[in-house]
């Protein structure tokens, strides 16, 4: 009897999980389906799910009109570049906060997080002027710097949480064996925190890939990533849903595939330390 109840519960939970999963995935599925419709089919009422005349016309149009590969390369450079730069800064910062905390460490952490609460548009003009005067407008390096700065609080916080889980005694033992500060961070701490660093890295790449405020405002042509590519297919006057869906599908595909392959690592990292 107990086993039957457990099986029924399991089935109910599985069904529930699938329902939630499909609901969350539905907008992406709908975007992909719409990308294969004509503009007229895209607005048809009632909408058609699968039985329509499939066309790749939107993809040809989008590829013909925009330089997808340049936008793609910019997205890769900006998201990976900002993640590497962020990790270089955040690993020592998180180490010091986790292993040699000061009286105000918690306050510093909270202050770092509070910078994420400021609406970005509030600092658009000052940053725009700095970029203009330093020649960083529409440059990849400028975007890498901005992405690093806006995601740094999250990287530091995540790494701080992982580092806190590592016993301080191991580092002490390394020190007793004569390890310097840098060799302690590079050869002892970093290898032990690889899962945490990997998930932080993945999350940061996703955040930088999807960021659409700064990437739209600080670029024009040379450094414009895939967010700008998508934005060029929306229109308040005229039908654009099918072409916009094709552009969106092409923009999210790389990060979606990366997320798929690394989901185990990502989930592990995000839930690390959640249950003690």
């Amino acid at each position: 009897m107990a086993r039957a109840v457990t099986t029924r519960r399991k089935a109910a939970f599985t069904l529930c999980a699938w329902a939630i999963g499909l609901t969350i995935f539905f907008p992406i599925l709908w975007t992909v389906l719409t990308s294969f419709k004509t503009e007229a089919q895209a607005i048809a009422d009632p909408p058609t799910l699968l039985f329509f005349q499939w066309t790749t016309e939107n993809y040809s149009e989008v590829l013909g009109r925009s330089n997808y590969f340049r936008h793609f390369a910019n997205s890769v450079i900006i998201s990976v570049g900002s993640t590497i730069l962020g990790l270089i800064i955040a690993i020592p910062a998180a180490w010091s906060m986790a292993f040699v905390p000061a009286k105000r460490t918690k306050d510093v952490l909270m202050w770092m997080l509070s910078t994420k609460m400021l609406p970005p548009v509030g600092v658009l003009i000052p940053i725009y002027l700095i970029f203009r005067d330093t020649g960083l407008l529409d440059s990849r390096i400028g975007l890498v710097i901005v992405m690093t700065l806006i995601n740094l609080p999250i990287i530091v916080w995540m790494l701080f949480t992982y580092f806190k889980e590592i016993p301080g005694e191991i580092l002490e033992a390394a020190r007793m064996d004569g390890a310097t500060l840098w060799s302690e961070i590079i050869y002892v701490l970093t290898p032990m925190a690889v899962p945490g660093i990997a998930s932080t890295m993945l999350l940061n790449i996703i955040l930088a890939w999807n960021e659409a405020f700064w990437t739209l405002n600080l670029t024009t042509t040379n450094a414009a990533p895939l967010t700008a590519f998508i934005a060029s297919y929306s229109s308040p006057e005229g039908l654009f849903y099918a072409k916009l869906s094709a552009a969106s599908a092409m923009a999210i595909a790389p990060i979606l595939i990366m997320g798929w392959f690394s989901q185990k690592q990502l989930v592990r990292g995000l839930t690390f330390g959640a249950v003690k």
Partner: protein, 435 residues
């Protein structure tokens, strides 16, 4: 031999320097059919202007507006040519943010630009932008449904006729609604439509002392008429319908009438996208007999920001894209129906273009709008469906939310107007217009 080699080398260096100094213009533009067509025809410009390359930045209207405003205000110099509307031109021109186009050559024939459009792009006698395409608004109606209802659409209908016709054409069981109008909140959405409509009812945004006028009887009459008509004959969920939603409804045969931008005529008559392409008729925007029709005036125009380092090349591009020759080029490559409308008188004098079904009505609609004299009474502002002051976007967005809420029935008409009056008075006082 040595001298020859030296000369050859020098020539090569000079040639390479020539290539290296080729100017690249960065052009910011909106994503719509006419602009995309222009991008595809860029080769014609570069062939005629060797040494000038063109890079396009195509964006959705609101994103574009935010980006180019930031750039022009900070003299960022990211763009050499910008696509801006009739709302921005007077404000930016007055601030000295745009390069004057008064020195375009005689061959450009600036006098050929339609006076209403040219007036909206001129500040103190200086032309600050060249119109790429112009639009007004008009009634687009289903000829078959009108016939079925036993009615005939006059060329210049009244609001009362439109309301009665909408009622007669509505068949809610069949999913056909007599009238589709903008209800989605936004200064470029429902406020554009309602401001133009209110003009025809004798209402205005401000009196000569910049005092808001939402507490006037004219505004109440206009808003009440609109909401009652939409409740009688409009589609469900109309408070979230903007241009694109109404376009979809019309193209799928669910609207008897749609009053909106003249540019939509080419969409609803395009058999590729519209199921009612051969059943569409056009008429002037309605009036109430007070001398003003409920149509607006807008022109997407090309302007050169004052911060550009490539003014001469930018002027060449603007001249090319807004010339008579460009219109002929589009006609040759894509047909007359795809020529950017509403900018040049010579286009409407062309017998080939006259065959386009909506050509005459577009011209008549544009000619009947006057941005410098938009209302029945005298007002201190320029603009038909907007007020050309920097504060308008913010105020109108909030006012649009009130009107949209009234249409949705979540607030009363009186409360919506009272709130609009209050918030506009507060903003105008803060901005220093009201002492």
């Amino acid at each position: 031999m040595t001298f020859k080699s030296l000369m050859l080398g020098a020539c090569s260096v000079l040639a390479m320097a020539g290539v290296a100094s080729a100017e690249t213009l960065t052009i910011a533009t909106v994503n719509n059919g006419d602009m995309i067509r222009m991008q595809k025809l860029t080769d014609d410009f570069t062939a005629k202007n060797p040494g000038i390359e063109v890079e396009w930045v195509t964006l959705e209207e609101n994103v574009l507006r935010q980006k180019v405003t930031t750039d022009v205000a900070t003299k960022g110099g990211q763009y050499d040519v910008m696509t801006i509307g009739t709302y921005e031109v007077p404000i930016w021109g007055q601030k000295g943010w745009l390069v004057s186009l008064n020195d375009l050559p005689a061959s450009y024939d600036v006098d050929d630009i339609l006076p209403a459009i040219r007036g909206g792009l001129t500040v103190d006698g200086e032309l600050y932008a060249a119109p790429f395409y112009g639009e007004s608004s008009m009634v687009m109606y289903r000829t078959d449904l009108m016939e079925k209802a036993g009615l005939e659409m006059p060329e210049a209908p009244s609001w009362q006729f439109v309301r009665d016709a909408a009622k007669a054409m509505t068949d809610k069981d069949a999913g056909v609604y007599g009238v589709c109008l903008r209800g989605k909140a936004g200064w470029g959405e429902n406020v554009a439509f309602l401001t133009a409509t209110a003009n025809s009812f004798g209402a205005k945004w401000f009196d000569m002392d910049w005092k808001p006028q939402f507490d006037s009887a004219e505004w109440k009459e206009a808003l009440t008429f609109y909401i009652e008509m939409m409740n009688e004959s409009g589609p469900p969920g109309a408070s979230s319908n903007g241009f694109n939603e109404n376009l979809s409804l019309t193209q799928t045969g669910k609207c008897g009438m749609w009053i909106d931008a003249t540019v939509a005529a080419s969409f609803v008559t395009n058999p590729k996208d519209s199921t009612v392409a051969d059943k569409m008729g056009f008429a002037l925007a309605p009036d109430t007999g007070l001398g003003k029709r409920g149509n607006w005036l807008w022109a997407w125009s090309l302007a050169i920001p004052a911060g550009t380092q490539k003014e001469a090349a930018a002027k060449k591009f603007v001249e090319w894209a807004t010339s008579k020759e460009y219109l002929a080029l589009v006609a040759e490559k894509e047909g007359w129906a795809n020529v950017p409308p509403g900018t040049r008188a010579s286009l409407y004098a062309n017998p080939e273009y006259a065959k386009v079904p909506f050509a005459k009505m577009t011209l008549d609609s544009i000619n009947s709008a006057d941005p410098t004299n938009p209302t029945v009474d005298k007002v201190p502002y320029v603009g038909v469906q907007f007020v050309a002051i920097p504060e308008f976007q913010g105020i109108a967005t909030a006012v649009g939310q009130q009107f949209s809420a009234a249409l949705a029935g979540t607030t009363s008409i009186d409360d919506a107007l009272a709130n609009a009056q209050r918030l506009t008075t507060r903003a105008m006082t803060k901005a220093g217009y009201i002492k």
